[in-house]
């Protein structure tokens, strides 16, 4: 199921914040359609690594090759345009908007009409609005959150918010999906459901997934590739299956 090519390749990535070394000389590659898990104790640099991949942090040293293009630094906006989407450890949803609206914001890079057309509801706007809605509904159905589509996200329970965040990320039709502790704070049933969604994402859309996770049983059941980080340095890497 996983492709032979490396979609993402990190070479000798290092980053430090005012003397504190977050990440030191990390190199690894992630194949197409693979699920790669980053594990390690807190403070090991996992979130920082994710932030580097999607351009929120710029590494001090090293390079990233994504989809054939090598670069050292990238703005988050460009990462999104290239097809990288992510979720966050402390949910970064737009709490004042509804679930549907949040998922629709995920599609902002796919919208074909410009704001003037939308203002007067002319030209490409009406058809485009229907198309985006259709696509958003597909993701909402995929993650079984139809019942809450018009609820304000801020009022939803934590587990549902995490699902909405995943929906927003998937709405962008990403090639690479970065998940920062998607199961944090969930009980076993919820973890099972979320794992199912992640696997379904890989199977149906062929998305490459890099995820940070603490629960080893989840990691073992999901990941084809595990990278272990400790104090910013790569400890081991293993290929399972």
């Amino acid at each position: 199921m996983t492709g032979r090519n490396f979609l993402l390749n990190l070479e000798h990535i290092s980053l430090s914040f005012k003397g504190v070394k977050a990440v030191t000389d990390i190199s690894f590659g992630v194949r197409e359609s693979e699920i790669c898990a980053l594990i390690g104790p807190n403070g090991a640099g996992k979130s920082s690594l994710l932030n580097i991949i999607n351009g929120v942090y710029q590494p001090d040293k090293g390079s990233i090759t994504f989809d054939g293009k090598t670069r050292q630094a990238m703005k988050p906006h460009h990462a999104a345009e290239q097809g990288i989407a992510r979720t966050f450890q402390n949910i970064a949803l737009f709490k004042g908007m509804s679930v549907l609206d949040n998922v629709l914001t995920g599609r902002n890079l796919k919208v074909k009409s410009n704001w003037i057309e939308q203002l007067f509801n002319l030209g490409r706007a009406p058809g485009d609005a229907v198309f985006q809605r259709k696509k958003a509904e597909e993701i909402i159905e995929f993650l079984s959150i139809q019942a809450w589509r018009n609820s304000i996200v801020g009022n939803l329970p934590y587990g549902l918010q995490k699902r909405v965040e995943l929906a927003r990320a998937l709405a962008a039709e990403p090639t690479l999906l970065l998940l920062d502790e998607p199961m944090a704070g969930m009980n076993n049933d919820e973890k099972y459901e979320m794992s199912r969604f992640i696997l379904d994402t890989q199977r149906e859309f062929g998305t490459t997934i890099v995820l940070i996770e603490h629960d080893i049983s989840v990691v073992m059941s999901l990941a084809q590739h595990v990278v272990v980080l400790d104090y910013g340095k790569k400890n081991r890497r293993r290929h399972t299956r």
Partner: protein
């Protein structure tokens, strides 16, 4: 050249007066993260109360004491009926609440004491005083001395006392402060009371200068650029910011003003503050907010 220094020094000293008002803001912001738009109306209210008591024949220090008590009462009412109900709301909400408060306090002040201008005599001789060939105002020097003393006292309060540390904790994280047993309500009352006291001092000095009138509450609009430049959380910054704004405002008005039509002191401090913001968003002494995603 002497003229330049005169204007400069005059501006610096005027700036200190701005700092006095700004310090009130810093206090409340430091302890609760709220930008208290009502500080200006508190200045007006305290000054009006004091002056009206004086006019009714009450002795100076008595009037001062009574006004202080009234300010304490005000602080208690504000904490009890407004702040307590708005715990943990976003800062914008709290700011807008202080906006509402400023309207209430202004309305009350003028309802009770009337809208006329009152003169205020503090007993300070305002004869100009010569120093190294430059004319200085005795009044301004007095104000500077007062400001300096206040800063000293407040710095001691914040750094050395337990209350001060508790205040800083509350400003940082209200829920955490509650969790370690800090009594939020008592602290807020203290802070608003101290801010009221500072407001009273500022009100007296400004009132002596301008007369006690409604426009006193507009001083808050001058305090904002001071805070931007000096940072919202530093008393020393309020002084530095006040000096900069006061000096540049006067200099601009005297030296640039005539070329472009005069009356620029309304917006010039703001333009300056904007420039500062673009270069140093947290102010000279302020703390940079760290945003983690």
């Amino acid at each position: 050249m002497n003229f330049f220094f005169e204007v400069l020094l005059g501006g610096l000293l005027a700036g200190l007066m701005y700092s006095l008002v700004a310090i009130g803001f810093v206090l409340i912001y430091k302890a609760s993260g709220v930008f208290n738009f009502a500080q200006g109306s508190m200045v007006l209210f305290s000054a009006l109360t004091f002056v009206s008591l004086l006019e009714r024949g009450i002795a100076f220090w008595f009037a001062f004491g009574i006004t202080l008590l009234i300010m304490l009462l005000l602080a208690w009412v504000i904490e009890r009926f407004v702040l307590r109900k708005l715990v943990n709301r976003p800062p914008i909400t709290l700011f807008m609440a202080t906006l509402g408060l400023s309207y209430i306090i202004e309305g009350l002040a003028q309802l009770f004491w009337g809208a006329q201008v009152h003169g205020l005599e503090l007993g300070i001789n305002d004869e100009p005083f010569e120093f190294l060939g430059i004319l200085l105002s005795q009044f301004d020097l007095f104000a500077a001395a007062v400001a300096g003393t206040l800063v000293l006292l407040l710095s001691l309060l914040f750094d050395k006392t337990r209350t001060g540390i508790a205040l800083r904790a509350v400003a940082d994280d209200q829920l955490a402060a509650l969790a370690v047993g800090i009594k939020l309500q008592k602290l807020w009352f203290i802070v608003w009371a101290v801010a009221g006291f500072v407001g009273l001092v500022a009100g007296l000095l400004w009132g002596a200068r301008l007369g006690v009138q409604f426009s006193l509450s507009l001083i808050v609009l001058k305090a904002l650029p001071v805070l931007i430049i000096g940072g919202f959380t530093s008393v020393g910054g309020a002084i530095a910011g006040g000096l900069i704004i006061g000096a540049s405002e006067k200099l601009a008005e005297v030296f640039i003003g005539p070329y472009i039509g005069g009356g620029i002191e309304n917006w010039f401090p703001y333009a300056l503050a904007m420039l500062f913001l673009l270069v140093r968003p947290a102010g000279i002494f302020g703390e940079r907010a760290i945003e983690r995603v």
